[in-house]
């Protein structure tokens, strides 16, 4: 029987039929991944956690060597579907979407979605209904996020999506958000290392952790289910979860139902009958399109404001670099090189999270400022080159006519430099429009992030990706056309 399973697995995985695979590749995200998967504090290039131990258990029973593949949490499903690893396990929730689009293992852990609030609010903010008008954080693309989106409509809360499960709690404590909805496992784990928040006892919803495999990998999934059943019976799973301090009374009840062959709903407490995964693609697109349009608005407003600020700062830097004293020039050059020489993602993190102890910028303001400060460095180089391209003879002529240096800049040099700079500036604006997708790491829900949520819930990138690309093009093509027109106009008038 077992041999038949194993054979089927190899065939289905399209691996060499003659040579059984020796490696069991499993995917997870160690970023803030405790107690599921996290970098071992004593050996940072190795991972530890209960999902690590379950992966070891599965590999051992399959007669293979486990190999960890580091994949961003929100990309695990797509990565598994395209065959980057045999299984994904990183506290992945059982959802209708996953059941539709992937081969999902049986549940191996039951969790509760719980609300956490600051200690001072513990007596008045107990349920989602108490949080009207408040900002409630969670991890994007999860059941908890779905619950919060429903609560936006039903209770008037404001859902805030994070890319990891650590910053929601740190932002809760410093007051950027008013509550966090996440798994009890994450909430309890965070509470051991962080003071200042209370986990409310009420359960908002019940969900389960599962492993996910590629849709064609049913036979391997069935083998894994057998291994999990056996580990439920002989207490192996209990030992693992006890070691990681997450064993509780919910688990024996879950295991009893599973071993008795009872069906287990993916989620209890959230109506999943309207999940996009069970809709036709067009119906799903119709439902998501308004939110994609809203996200496009965020993208375009953010890009326009950032560019305006970048231009203003860039002009000041360029002026300082052309006219300033030596120390001013050196300082500005240092700024330009620092901004151009480090990743914008790092700058955004430092601005939003790194400086949170000193300046607590709201997410949108931090995103706007981060993009503007970075692009100002690039803009300043364009303006500096443009200012230096104006023939010195014109500047001398202006001086002999009695214009002050300031007037020479404002009336003679600046206007001509602006014309030279306009075409490269437009190109930069198109680039900024696309770079604005990076600010989703600061919880700003812009077009790319909204698309990612859509794709995660739908279990496919084809339709969401196409819609997203169309919306970006609708914003960037007119800009590109404008740049071409300006270039043509000045080329013909210069001839």
């Amino acid at each position: 029987m077992y041999d038949a399973y194993v054979r089927g697995v190899y065939d289905a995985a399209s691996l060499s039929a003659a040579e059984p695979p020796k490696i069991f590749r499993w995917a997870g995200d160690p970023e803030g991944g405790a107690p599921f998967v996290e970098a071992d504090p004593s050996r940072p290039d190795e991972v530890v956690g209960f999902d690590v131990e379950i992966a070891d258990l599965l590999a051992r029973n399959l007669g293979r060597t486990p190999q960890f593949v580091n994949i961003t949490f929100t990309s695990i499903d797509q990565s598994i579907a395209r065959g980057d690893a045999d299984i994904g396990m990183s506290g992945l929730e059982d959802t209708p979407a996953r059941r539709t689009t992937l081969a999902v293992t049986m549940a191996y852990y039951e969790f509760r979605e719980v609300l956490s609030v600051r200690d001072a609010d513990a007596s008045r903010l107990r349920t989602l209904a108490d949080l009207r008008g408040k900002r409630v954080a969670t991890l994007g693309g999860t059941i908890a996020y779905e619950i919060l989106l429903r609560a936006e409509r039903d209770h008037g809360i404001r859902a805030v999506s994070y890319e990891d499960d650590v910053h929601p709690y740190s932002d809760l404590v410093i007051g950027r958000v008013d509550a966090v909805l996440l798994d009890n496992v994450l909430a309890e784990r965070r509470q051991r290392t962080m003071q200042g928040f209370t986990i409310q006892p009420q359960t908002v919803a019940i969900g389960h952790y599962v492993g996910v495999l590629a849709p064609g990998n049913g036979p391997l999934r069935d083998t894994i289910n057998e291994i999990l059943r056996s580990a439920m019976r002989d207490g192996t799973l209990q030992r693992i979860f006890t070691k990681w301090r997450v064993w509780n009374d919910d688990q024996p009840k879950l295991y009893a139902r599973l071993l008795a062959g009872e069906p287990v709903e993916p989620v209890t407490g959230l109506d999943t009958s309207v999940s996009v995964a069970t809709m036709t693609k067009w119906e799903a697109a119709r439902r998501y399109f308004p939110s994609l349009l809203r996200a496009s608005l965020v993208t375009i407003v953010l890009s326009c404001l950032s560019m305006a600020l970048a231009v203003a700062i860039g002009v000041m830097i360029a002026t300082g670099r052309v006219y300033g004293a030596r120390p001013v020039r050196a300082a500005l050059l240092g700024y330009v090189e620092l901004m151009r020489g480090t990743p914008i993602l790092l700058q955004l993190f430092v601005l939003y999270y790194g400086l949170a102890a000193a300046i607590r910028l709201p997410a949108f303001a931090a995103a706007l400022l981060g993009l503007a400060l970075n692009y100002a460095a690039y803009e300043s180089e364009i303006y500096r080159a443009a200012l230096e391209a104006i023939p010195p003879g014109q500047l001398e002529a202006a001086r002999t006519l009695g214009l002050s240096e300031r007037q020479v800049l404002r009336l003679v040099r600046g206007p001509q430099a602006f014309r030279l700079a306009l075409a490269p500036m437009t190109n930069d604006f198109v680039a900024l429009l696309k770079d604005s997708s990076l600010v989703s790491v600061l919880t700003v829900l812009e077009l790319t992030k909204e698309t990612q949520i859509f794709a995660t819930n739908l279990g496919s990138w084809v339709l969401p990706g196409s819609l997203c690309a169309a919306l970006y093009l609708a914003m960037s093509l007119p800009l590109a056309a404008l740049a071409r027109r300006l270039e043509r106009r000045w080329k013909s008038s210069a001839a």
Partner: protein, 231 residues
């Protein structure tokens, strides 16, 4: 009597001006007086310092020793002129560059009005009327709305002269004004300059053009290796 006194008045006094660029000596003690109403042609081979002495008079070129005084405004060698001194100097001296150096983004009319309106606080309407008058005098009023790149070499030069005269300086410096002109245009320029002399302006022209200088200048100063060799 008064007219004779004014005509003999020294308007530009250049006294022992020395100017070095690094190790290279460009002006090695130039001394020369220019009187009101003269058209002085400064001549000499390339590198003799003709353009440099014009730039020094206009306050564009710092010099290490000597003194230049223009109608009561003094520039001292080795000293950085104050903003106030330069402002005063630029009321006294206008300059027309060899390549005209018109502001490329402004029309001919706007080129002329820019300094009167912004540097000398002339009412914009009055500045415009004066600009048209100058353009008419020089026969290029029909080009008032043209951009510099749309003007011929001769037209651009006339606009540049009009621009320099718009702030009404008693002294006008011109660098190689005939360099890009054909013989007919050169004669027209000579007539135009004589017209300016009749308005009691003082003209200092750096040129290579022997024939032009002989025909139109009231006096020729020759430079070689940064010193006056003939006056």
């Amino acid at each position: 009597m008064e007219i004779i006194r004014r005509m003999s008045e020294v308007l530009v006094n250049i006294d022992g001006v020395e100017l070095r660029r690094g190790a290279r000596v460009v002006l090695a003690g130039v001394t020369c007086d220019i009187r009101r109403g003269e058209l002085v042609a400064i001549m000499g081979p390339s590198g003799s310092g003709k353009t440099t002495i014009l730039r020094a008079i206009a306050g564009l070129e710092p010099f290490q020793a000597g003194r230049i005084a223009v109608d009561g405004v003094t520039l001292d060698g080795g000293a950085v002129p104050t903003v106030a001194t330069l402002r005063e100097l630029r009321r006294k001296v206008g300059m027309v560059f060899q390549f005209h150096c018109l502001f490329e983004h402004l029309t001919a009319l706007q080129n002329i009005c820019l300094a009167p309106v912004h540097a000398h606080r002339v009412d914009p309407q009055a500045a415009k009327a004066r600009a048209h008058e100058l353009l008419r005098t020089f026969g290029v009023d029909h080009r008032a709305d043209a951009l510099p790149r749309q003007l011929s070499g001769g037209e651009a030069q006339r606009v540049a002269i009009a621009r320099a005269l718009a702030v009404d300086p008693p002294v006008l410096l011109m660098d190689e004004p005939t360099a890009s002109l054909d013989p007919a245009r050169r004669a027209e320029l000579g007539e135009l300059l004589h017209g300016l002399l009749r308005q009691h302006r003082t003209l200092v022209v750096a040129t290579h053009d022997e024939e032009f200088a002989r025909e139109f200048a009231t006096r020729i100063v020759r430079l070689r290796d940064g010193v006056v060799i003939e006056d």
